[in-house]
Amino acid sequence: MAESSTSVRLAESRAIDGRFGLLRGGYVGTFLRNWQGLIGLSLIVTFSLLAIFAPVLAPSDPQEINLAHILAPPAWSDSDRGFGLLGTDNLGRDILSRVIHGSRVSLLVGISATLIGLFVGVPMGLIAGYKGRPLDDIITRFADIQSAIPFLVLLIAILTFIGGGLLNVVIFLGLSGWIGYARLVRGETLSIRTRDFVISARAVGASEARIMFHHILPNVVAPIIIAATLSFGGMILTESALSFLGIGVSASTPTWGRMLAESRQDILSAFGPSLFPGVAIVAVVLGANWTGDWLRDVLDPRLRGSR
């Protein structure tokens, strides 16, 4: 899931060249870009703070059942029946507190799964690109096979069989994301490995590991960071989908996906429970995507000013 939106953006970066910037009319475009990056970054920072300080910031206990206020609308929209800033769900739990606490799972899963993908994908890409055949063939073929697996279905199956839980979700989600990084790093490595500084390093007797991690890797960091930021949003989307299907982390933890699943039975009577968790997901993913686009402009000199 994560891979596709990342590859869309990376392919797009490649598709666009310098003329684009001229067409776009210089300053206004640059300003707009930064403006989006600023919003994206603020969204990510805001949700990170919400996640870290959730127990302090949430107005009430996210699990506290209050049968006197079932499916109450937000207090500002209906002063008689309203309860809480965003209303309550079908058990009278405060939606605002649940959305705030839900950010913990989303961000934790998003960050950890992205890191796992990086830790597997980057070395694979380096090895495939630097060592060449036959390792390259094996890794590339394996990546091809994995990308033809309907991974969401497989995730659903495995997590149902061995049980969800935070750790399992993170591990399997992370392993679904390594292909994108591996392909990216492999491509970059292939073009860097014949450059003079790599050949000199080899000539003075640097080990292969040293060449890969000290000489090639630093040159690939920028695109890796961009790809990771963009795929972070995809990880959050997949986690919320799994929670929605009832497979994600345990039921005692509020997650946005689970909140949306629980809201479905009440769509005839209340709108809030199915609206606000979705808005939270969109805000975080949008934040990640805009931050990634902005980083792409800032970090990748080949694309600077190209959008």
């Binding site: 899931m1 891979e3 596709s4 939106s5 590859s7 869309v8 392919a11 797009e12 490649r14 598709a15 666009i16 060249d17 003329r19 684009f20 067409l23 776009r24 073929r141 394996f142 091809d144 096979i145 994995q146 990308s147 033809a148 697996i149 309907p150 991974f151 969401l152 279905v153 497989l154 659903i156 199956a157 495995i158 149902t160 069989f161 061995i162 949003g233 989307l237 919320s240 989908a241 929605f244 299907l245 996906g257 949306l260 809201s263 479905r264 769509i267 005839l268 709108f271 199915s274 609206l275 968790p277 979705g278 997901i281 969109v282 993913v285 949008l286 995507n289």
Partner: protein, 311 residues
């Protein structure tokens, strides 16, 4: 061209074999379905349950080593026999084949909407930069990649089924049932196509051959549709191709949200009821569809860009 397609088909077949192998071991290693089929009877002693487990494993062929199970599975699967569904006690192939047309219908409708709306939007946005239509296209492109499919589905149900009473919320009886799920499923593709259509077109419009075409006095329509469009397709096809596995995944969720009885909802039920033969065959179908689309994308690619044809 023929040998190119043949080679791609062979590679595709190898990929499918790889998928089946990996999925088989992951699924078998991750759980014992026998526990799921033990009948619940309060009078049973733990020893009775153990005995029943052994019997169930034997009847389902799960008592042998996993590697033997794998070879037995492959041996009969080659002949199209995937065993009986644990749940329905009829051949898994029948259970799955019954549902496939519905999923193809949903996926096909979504592809038509996604490309049918996304491509004109993207091209129009590129031709009229900064206009209203550019903003609409960009907004759709952004939302399509950030809004989770299941949430979009719920919102569409609330709007069109609950509030406006225009369309049914669930089921698959008529073409009206198809509209909301197809719209939901098309959102991601529409976003990708609109976004890549726009940037691909913009890139091409700046090329020398487009300037030449304009300079020799061709009409704008001819420049856009004859010279620019075809070349702008190259990056678009690549990206659409690479988003196929993602689309196959989201169809599962869309089918669950709209109670669409296709392959996706069958897979969900089969996972929850540990119906291994159906899971295996369903995964096989989905990866075959993915691989076939990959091959179609490669062939399209070769048609659009003759430079790579016989590589």
């Amino acid at each position: 061209m023929t040998s190119y397609i043949a080679r791609r088909l062979l590679q595709g077949a190898l990929v499918v074999v790889g998928v089946i192998t990996i999925v088989f071991f992951l699924v078998r290693v991750s759980g014992d379905p026998a526990t799921y089929f033990v009948s619940l009877d309060p009078d049973k002693t733990p020893a009775d349950i153990q005995l029943e487990l052994v019997e169930i494993r034997k009847s389902l062929g799960l008592d042998r080593p996993v590697i033997i199970q794998y070879f037995l599975f492959v041996q009969v699967a080659i002949r199209g026999d995937f065993g009986n569904s644990f749940r329905y006690h009829i051949p898994a192939t029948r259970v799955v084949l019954e549902r496939v047309p519905l999923s193809l219908k949903l996926g096909g409708a979504a592809a038509v909407i996604g490309v049918g709306v996304g491509l004109p939007l993207g091209i129009a946005a590129a031709l009229k930069r900064g206009s209203m239509i550019d903003s609409v296209s960009t907004t759709i492109a952004v939302l399509g990649l950030t809004v989770p499919g299941f949430w979009l589905g719920i919102m569409l149900i609330i709007l069109f089924a609950v509030k406006l009473h225009l369309l049914p919320a669930a089921g698959s009886e008529s073409w009206r049932h198809l509209i909301l799920p197809a719209l939901t499923q098309s959102a991601g593709l529409m976003a990708v196509v609109a976004r890549m259509g726009r940037s691909g077109m913009l890139e091409v419009l700046g090329q020398d051959y487009v300037r030449t075409a304009r300079a020799k006095g061709l009409s704008e329509r001819l420049v856009v549709f004859r010279h620019a469009l075809r070349n702008s397709m190259i990056s678009l096809i690549t990206v659409v191709g690479s988003s196929i596995p993602h689309l196959v995944g989201t169809i599962v969720i869309v089918e669950v949200v709209f109670a669409w009885p296709g392959l996706g909802s069958l897979m969900m039920q089969s996972v929850f009821s540990r119906d291994y033969p159906v899971i295996m065959l369903g995964v096989l179908f989905m990866s075959v569809i993915t691989v076939v689309v990959f091959i179609i994308v490669d062939v399209l690619y070769a048609i659009v860009d003759p430079r790579i044809r016989y590589r």
